[in-house]
Symmetry: C2
Subunit: 166 residues, 2 copies
């Protein structure tokens, strides 16, 4: 989480009343508001799925299986961005709730599918629309045009940051 507004290095010419901010200043401010806004929206999303006894990661698995159909566990992992151990843990929990089941992969016996059970399918069909409305409310401080603009910028940012080696 976030650096707050930073101390200004006193370098540079004081050419005018305001000083141009450095590349680092600009970047840090972006990072702070990115983290804060993500957290603020996440709290709404979490509260919504928590009403059904789910975490955001669990819901993300249900949702991706609902919209894409059965997926290999490794594919699920890449879609929802958790660790390999995390997928095992989450699918175990969802299986324990009767919402997801593992299926064998006939072509590769190392691999296994995760798939929604009928109960899981029914649950997602019921709660997904509510969840979508809840998210829409959480981001309603931005107009639709602003949301589209923010989406374009964040998509570009996310792709480039993910591509940079750590």
């Amino acid at each position: 989480m976030g650096a707050s507004a930073t101390a200004r290095p006193t370098e540079g010419r004081s050419t005018g009343r305001t000083r141009a901010s450095t590349a680092e200043d600009t970047a840090l401010k972006l990072w702070v508001v990115l983290a804060r806004s993500q957290l603020a929206v996440a709290r709404h999303a979490e509260a919504d799925v928590a009403r059904h006894g789910l975490t955001l990661a669990e819901f993300a698995i249900l949702e991706v299986l609902y919209h894409r159909g059965p997926l290999l566990l490794g594919e699920v992992q890449r879609k929802i961005l958790v660790s390999s151990g995390g997928v095992t843990y989450l699918v175990d929990r969802l299986a324990g709730k009767g919402l997801v089941e593992r299926r064998e992969c006939t072509h590769d016996r190392r691999a296994r599918y995760a798939a929604l059970t009928p109960a899981g399918e029914k649950l997602v069909a019921r709660i997904f629309p509510e969840h979508a409305r809840s998210i829409a409310r959480a981001v309603s401080g931005l107009s639709k045009a602003e949301q589209l603009q923010a989406t374009a910028l964040l998509r570009k940012l996310g792709i480039s940051a993910a591509d940079l080696p750590i």
Copy 2:
């Protein structure tokens, strides 16, 4: 985490080749890219502070104390957005490393300050510039103008989402 692109409800007139997306579609896409881009940048920030044996939350405390001076624990909590228990835990850890110390508040004996020790001050002075460069690199996929634009949008989003009751 993130909903993927959603199944389209087949309602509405098919007036043209492309259909206008619903408010929920737009919101969900924003939420997905917000979560993903935050995670992607956070991985860089985490890796940077991990080189010094710190978590992001620990670093955030060091940084805020460095730039604002001693702060009441409750103020720290509000700045870095963790739970009250989290502040106690984090300050305990930083105190164990000799970077932060608690000080009594003479005016209110319920409250206590957190303040950097000389060692903590020295550490932040050393690693903060590196950290800033590391963040600048992580967000360098966006031009400076785009970063400023994204910052303005996310600030607005964060404030409105935080103000909405959960």
